[in-house]
């Protein structure tokens, strides 16, 4: 087949892919080139091309700041707690839902527990600020049983816990979906055979149901590695305040404040690049693990 013959048939395929390529070049690859600001003393007037180069100075400055350990520590503590709680919670919830035989009941519960996932952090943040305030309904409830008001969002003792718990509340229901899909794939004959052989309900959960979803558990554990630098930017930006920077400030919120509020583009760009770089390595490793141990490929 000559090139001409090939193109006579295939040219629309190339036309179709052009718009996607243009957008991705402009809004994904051009910003990737823009990471050069991390090595420059960037000024908007001079742009990416003409700002003076200063090597690793932005990184050296950032690593010397006391914030460095703090924002990385907070990011890791919050994200790892969230990942572990979310996955464990989702597995338990999915198993419990699987044991509830009444189909209508199950559907209704699923509908309700997926819902918070689809609300924005502005809406949920508005709700949380309201119910967690000093005179909010939660503190009123605690007052009834003789516990004094707590500053859930305003004290360093509570902030991380509040973030982790509210993140759990928003997402755990939706996280059960993957496990529920895996549970429906377990052959019911296995359960019936085991029951005839005298296995009780909990033995069957332990020896049939759990092994049945083990590949899914392994897969999600591998993929979650790619998320350990994602502590929940939109959530924390909505809920935090200067009083809780010590326990609640994460990499993303620091980059946002430094770069877009204080306009220190180069410093923020360096911190952002550092995060993107580690994040990229983690994602590549997580995909490799997912392929190696769970046979998962996105392509």
């Amino acid at each position: 087949m000559t090139l001409q013959q090939y193109l006579r048939r295939a040219w629309p395929l190339y036309v179709m892919i052009v718009p996607g390529i243009v957008f991705v070049l402009l809004f994904r690859y051009y910003p990737m080139y823009g990471v050069v600001i991390a090595f420059q003393d960037f000024s908007p007037a001079k742009g990416f091309l003409n700002s003076p180069w200063i090597g690793w100075a932005n990184f050296e400055f950032f690593f010397s700041l006391p914030y460095f350990g703090r924002i990385f520590g907070n990011t890791l503590i919050i994200s790892v707690s969230k990942i572990v709680l979310d996955q464990v919670g989702a597995i338990i919830l999915a198993l419990l839902l699987n044991e509830a035989r009444h189909l209508f009941f199950r559907r209704s519960i699923q509908t309700l527990i997926y819902l918070p996932h689809f609300l924005s952090w502005i809406v949920l943040g508005g709700i949380l600020l309201d119910i967690l305030s000093v005179r909010g309904i939660l503190n009123q409830g605690l007052g009834l049983i003789g516990i004094e008001s707590q500053l859930f969002l305003g004290s360093n003792d509570w902030f991380r816990g509040t973030v982790i718990a509210s993140g759990f509340w928003k997402n755990v229901g939706f996280s059960t979906i993957v496990y529920l899909a895996a549970l429906t794939a377990i052959n019911p004959v296995l359960h019936e055979a085991a029951a005839i052989d005298g296995a009780g309900r909990f033995r069957r959960i332990w020896h049939i149901t759990l092994p049945g979803i083990r590949p899914t558990i392994v897969l999600l554990a591998a993929l979650s590695l790619g998320d350990v630098l994602q502590a929940g930017f939109e959530q924390i930006l909505t809920l935090y305040n200067p009083a809780v920077y010590r326990t609640g400030d994460i990499i993303d919120t620091y980059v946002y404040r430094t770069g877009l509020i204080s306009a220190q583009y180069s410093l923020a760009g360096a911190v952002g690049l550092f995060k993107s770089f580690i994040g990229f390595i983690l994602i590549v490793i997580s995909y490799w693990l997912a392929d190696r141990y769970a046979g998962y490929r996105i392509l």
Binding site: Y14, Y30, L112, S120, I177, A195, R201, G295
Partner: protein
């Protein structure tokens, strides 16, 4: 059907039903509380007397919200954003996924193209360079800043591509032999056969556009251009009463607790309306991303 009749199993069942019900109620309760506040008079709402049932029932808060020009303006910006942004997303997802779903024999260079997109998904230039690019393109304070940077949701492209690959090849081959072009094959074969996947991805794109607020915060320097969720942030989250562009009286009024509740509910209602449709599809949507043999 297996029946476990022993008492321990039954006890477990009762516990299970109670626990799951309690958890589901916990997911809904905060929303019910805010709903009750939004339907209550200002005095009991501000005083913190409302729990899960409105006191001094009134629709005044909603009238106030819907009568506010600043709120309505941001609402309309969000509607425009959802309509234009979702259409753009889906057009690009379908157009990009179709060639990528072909084998390298049919679409030469597929491997290079696919890595072009996957790398763009995995490596993030970061917030600051992205902001500088959008600004240098002159998009600040335009609708374009909200819909163009994420015009190609790459993960959706991959899901769509995987779905297209499961379309039986025989249909396409016979159409091509009969002289149909790839445009016709896409339009008359692939799209009709992929409607469930398209519906799922459309709903997810629409919900994302409706809920997005951070891009509005950074790309709109004049808050008269804020989409609704960004606007709500100034009113219900940061309570920043000094913002220019919104009259202080208007903002003062809108930040009253009962009216804040009404705004939260108004922002939630569109999600609740599409939610049943969303839910019907997302089990199949999830399967798209499941383990491939």
């Amino acid at each position: 059907m297996i029946r476990d009749k022993n008492w321990f199993s039954r006890l477990f069942d009762s516990f299970n039903y109670v626990f799951l019900t309690a958890f589901a109620v916990l997911c809904l309760l905060p929303l019910i509380h805010i709903f009750a506040v939004s339907l209550s008079g200002r005095a009991p709402a501000t005083g913190g007397f409302v729990s899960f049932w409105p006191l001094d029932f009134t629709l005044e808060n909603y009238q106030e919200v819907m009568g506010s020009r600043t709120f309505l303006r941001s609402f309309m910006i969000s509607v425009a954003r959802v309509l234009s942004g979702t259409s753009l997303n889906m057009a690009l997802v379908i157009l990009t996924a179709y060639p990528l779903s072909k084998s390298p024999r049919v679409f030469k260079g597929r491997t290079i193209f696919i890595w072009f997109f996957v790398f763009a998904m995995l490596f993030d230039g970061g917030l600051i360079p992205s902001f500088l690019v959008v600004r240098s393109l002159g998009l600040l304070n335009t609708l374009g800043a909200l819909i163009l940077p994420n015009a190609v949701p790459i993960f959706s492209v991959i899901l769509m591509m995987n779905f297209f690959r499961d379309v039986p090849k025989e249909l396409e081959e016979s159409a091509l032999i009969d002289g149909a072009s790839h445009w016709k094959v896409l339009w008359y074969i692939y799209i009709p056969l992929s409607l469930p996947a398209i519906a799922t991805l459309t709903l997810f794109a629409a919900v994302n556009h409706w809920n997005a607020w951070f891009d509005g915060l950074i790309y709109m320097t004049d808050n008269a251009n804020y989409p609704m969720q960004t606007f709500l942030r100034t009113v219900i989250v940061t309570l920043d009463l000094t913002q220019v562009g919104i009259s202080p009286q208007d903002l003062q009024r809108l930040s009253d607790r009962a009216i804040r509740g009404a705004q939260i509910i108004v922002a939630t209602v569109p999600i609740l309306v599409v939610y049943p449709f969303l839910q019907r599809y997302f089990i199949s949507g999830i399967k798209l991303g499941a383990v491939k043999e």
